[in-house]
Amino acid sequence: MSADQEKLESVKRWLLAKKPALGDIDLDLDLIENRVIDSLGFLDFVFFLEQLVGRELQTDAESVKAFRTLRSLGDDILAEREGAET
């Protein structure tokens, strides 16, 4: 398993620990629409992701798209890229 995949699994485990009833989370499930994360839990989620990727994240209205699904999180936040800024 690549480092990026391991991070994605960590994210999934973190979310499932908060919402165990889900059982599993599809890569394309809309996490916000399906209330897997909501506004009150968002800050803790961001800090978890920051710790995972080792950098601060921006959470303005534009960048919220990156938080919508596991796939977008993997592509836009977790992927190791030089000079990545989200």
């Binding site: 009150l40 968002f42 710790q51």
Partner: protein, 296 residues
């Protein structure tokens, strides 16, 4: 000492009228009132040590005093930054309701509230930019509160405003009176406390009125969900005080580990319960929230 002075009144209209009169009588020009020093020394307490997020824990003892002092600086800039963002959010909601149907009684007060909150936002932002060279970004994301009726939404909006103001006032009241703090820090906090006392007095009556309304017009399940949301909002508000960005700026090696450790520290639970005591006394004392609120 932390009681909010509510003028004697029989109903919300009389209270709002009296509070509005007080706003006019005590009006000050914030743009002239503060004499901002060009800079503030780093080797001072910027925040009352007992109010810091490391207070009541081993970290306050183990970290070098200079580092705890640096933490007090960045924690104070973060606290005022939270105020800037919190005020922006509440202003947006109140502006939507001023002179709108259903708010005939409150609108005159809202005009003063909006003006005063705009000024508070200005002096908090000024403090951050002048002495911290930044406002910490808002990392909360405001998703809409879906699946709620307009009445529930209004109840939640004014409850959130009241909770925000109550928590901030806990800090303002103490820092405004702390003579070990620099005069400009004391002044910013005491002026804000003075205005917020009026806002909180009105906010409590508005929340009580809106709660009375929803229990008669909404289903028990809808009311229960609103109450559950508010309990989570209280916890999230407390958690937002613990910022890894602040810990990083104070030179803490692993800011996320520190945040996690503090959020699970029994000493912090006791401190956070003190911060929320007056807020919970109001919400639970008036039957708006029922049962325990687990802060951690």
């Amino acid at each position: 000492m932390a009681e909010i002075q509510t003028p004697p009144t029989r109903g919300i209209s009389a209270l709002l009228e009296r509070i509005t009169e007080m706003s006019v009588e005590t009006y000050y020009n914030p743009y002239k009132m503060f004499e901002w020093p060009a800079s503030l020394p780093d080797d001072q307490w910027w925040m009352t040590p007992e109010l810091m997020t490391v207070a009541n824990t081993r970290f306050a003892e183990e970290l070098p005093t200079a580092q705890v002092m640096a933490l007090s600086k960045w924690e104070s800039i973060h606290f005022y930054s939270l105020n800037v963002h919190g005020i922006r959010e509440l202003l947006l909601e109140v502006v939507k309701r001023v002179q709108a149907p259903g708010y005939d009684e409150e609108s005159e007060f809202f005009h003063h509230f909006i003006g005063e909150e705009n000024e508070h936002m200005w002096f908090f932002a000024t403090f951050c930019l002048k002495y911290g060279r930044k406002i910490y970004p808002n990392k909360k994301l405001a998703f809409s509160i879906d699946d709620v009726t307009p009445d529930i939404e209004s109840f939640l909006v004014f409850s959130r405003i009241l909770i925000f103001e109550e928590i901030v006032d806990y800090f303002n009241l103490r820092m405004g009176r702390d003579e070990t703090l620099h005069p400009i820090i004391r002044q910013v906090n005491s002026i804000h406390h003075q205005d917020e006392s009026r806002h909180i007095a009105c906010g409590r009556e508005i929340v009580k009125k809106l709660f009375r309304h929803i229990v008669t017009t909404q289903t028990a399940d809808q009311v229960q969900r609103a109450q559950d949301y508010l309990k989570r909002y209280l916890v999230a508000s407390i958690h937002s005080l613990y910022s890894p960005s602040v810990y990083r700026d104070a030179g803490i090696a692993d800011p996320y580990e520190l945040r996690a450790a503090l959020l699970h520290d029994p000493g912090r639970r006791a401190a956070d319960e003190r911060t929320l005591k007056r807020t919970l006394d109001f919400f639970q004392g008036n039957g708006i929230l029922v049962g325990e609120v687990d802060i951690q």
